[in-house]
């Protein structure tokens, strides 16, 4: 396995009295795609949000255990959460672009970080659009509203926007579930390209998608991590019966 980028140690998460994650320990390798799969309510999205402390925003959430990224526990008291999230980009199920131009969406992160140099901003727009395989499609309409783009293009602008602040990790929560097959294929190819530079963690309901895009797959069920292994292994000879039943569509 490559170097470990993210490590969870005995992580428990409670929504009030209800325990949503049970003693999760996992090592996520650097520059690989790791997929979280499992039926609805299994905890996969909750766990994804643990990785950039998104659950901090929800009342009544209690977290035990450690999430160690590059050797630092991100739940330490002295961690700057804003800075942490700069290192960890996130892409959601539905595109959440601002009602601004494509250009403004892409430079938003830099601007709020005080970067105003037009040259840097222009370069960032070009770089991220190329990385998101979108440059040729939108290069002549950068000042048009981002919300006028197709759903698939909007989602790729979201990915480009996440890349603008040069994160190390990209978390994706069902990034293609609202898209048509062609846009989905583009996002999947994009994920494949991006992993050379970034560590990617993706949550997906679509098992076939996990099979296609990921190197490692973690199967969650009822808040527990049931099995975690190379994707090839999970989809050809899983060790646990629950995993086998889930990937073959027998339950879930």
């Amino acid at each position: 396995m490559k170097e470990v980028k993210i490590k969870a140690e005995n992580l428990n998460l409670f929504y009030g009295q209800k325990q949503a994650l049970k003693n999760i320990s996992i090592e996520i390798p650097e520059n690989k795609v790791t997929a979280f799969i499992g039926p609805s309510g299994c905890g996969k999205s909750t766990f994804l949000r643990v990785l950039n402390r998104m659950n901090d925003l929800i009342d009544d959430v209690r977290i035990e255990g450690n999430i160690i990224i590059d050797g630092t526990n991100i739940y330490d008291k002295n961690i700057d959460v804003v800075n942490l999230r700069k290192r960890i980009g996130m892409v959601f199920q539905k595109s959440n672009l601002f009602p601004k131009s494509i250009y403004e969406n892409l430079v938003y992160g830099l601007k709020i970080n005080g970067i105003k140099d037009k040259k840097i901003l222009d370069e960032t727009v070009e770089r991220t659009l190329i990385q998101a395989a979108l440059f040729n499609e939108v290069k002549d309409r950068l000042n048009e509203p981002a919300l006028a783009l197709s759903g698939g293009q909007q989602q790729r602008v979201c990915i480009a926007r996440a890349l603008a602040v040069e994160p190390e990790i990209i978390l994706m929560d069902e990034p293609a579930s609202a898209l048509d097959p062609i846009s989905t294929a583009k996002i999947e190819e994009l994920i494949h390209e991006l992993k050379t530079k970034y560590t990617i963690v993706i949550v997906t309901h679509n098992m076939q998608q996990a099979a296609r895009v990921s190197d490692q797959t973690a199967f969650f069920y009822l808040g527990e991590l049931i099995e975690y292994d190379k994707t090839t292994k999970i989809f050809t000879r899983p060790t646990k019966k629950q995993t086998e039943d889930y990937v073959t569509g027998r339950f879930g």
Partner: protein, 242 residues
């Protein structure tokens, strides 16, 4: 952007083509061993069979992985399904090369009666069929595949006449029996190479033209719609009085 899936298919294709050339070489060397009465060639063939076996496992695993992770359809699916059967056929041809090599070691020297049987024609035809089936795969050429399928009858006829002549030769003198039996085996093995080359050619036709022609299957279906329940067709066939 190149599809990642296409890269995986390309890797699989490369593995199969490498296995093809190895198996082709194995058959060549086994026959050379017999023709030139040099058992060193035969030994090489026997030693290298483990490499053929390794390819067999590698290709099967690659196909499993592609099916499990990519859910191929249409031409991609036909390619993977055919890759699996082509792989099996190549592995068997590899085994035949070993059988031929063992026969060459066994017989040591060509029998005096060799010119009375169509051995050289058979060897040439089997080699040509194997070469053409591999080329048809590499070039995705259905015409070449059809040529291979047609050649199989020729090879079968040689095998039949070889069998008849060898029986006669063995009846003539008990001294001929040992060499005669070995030549019978060689003849049968060459005929089997033709069968496997035919199977490969049929698969190539299936990949390119999306038509199943094995056992002249299309002829059975001519003018009929394929039934939803395929087993029913088979059962009906079985119930017919002989």
């Amino acid at each position: 952007m190149i599809r990642q899936f296409d890269q995986q298919l390309e890797k699989l294709r490369t593995k199969i083509i490498k296995m093809c050339s190895l198996v082709d070489e194995q058959v060549d060397l086994a026959l050379k061993s017999f023709n030139e009465e040099n058992i060193e060639y035969a030994k090489t063939v026997i030693e290298r069979d483990s490499i053929v076996d390794k390819y067999d496992v590698k290709i099967e695993k690659a196909c499993q992985k592609i099916i499990a992770l990519n859910q191929p359809v249409a031409m991609d699916l036909r390619l993977i399904l055919s890759a699996l059967t082509i792989n099996t056929n190549l592995e068997r041809i590899g085994d035949i090369a070993v059988n031929l090599a063992e026969a060459a070691i066994e017989i040591k020297k060509k029998p005096d009666f060799i010119d009375r049987i169509p051995y050289y024609k058979m060897a040439a035809t089997a080699k040509q069929m194997l070469k053409d089936s591999i080329d048809s795969l590499i070039e995705a050429n259905p015409h070449l595949a059809q040529k291979v399928i047609k050649m199989d009858d020729e090879l079968d006829n040689y095998d039949k006449s070889s069998y008849e002549v060898l029986l006669k030769i063995m009846k003539e003198s008990p001294n001929n029996i040992e060499a005669g039996v070995t030549m019978l085996i060689i003849s049968q093995q060459l005929e089997r190479i033709g069968d496997h080359a035919t199977n490969i050619a049929e698969d190539v036709f299936f990949i390119v033209e999306a038509q199943m022609i094995k056992h002249k299957y299309e002829k059975f279906l001519f003018g009929e719609e394929e039934s939803e329940d395929d087993d029913k067709d088979i059962n009906n066939e079985e119930e017919k009085p002989i």
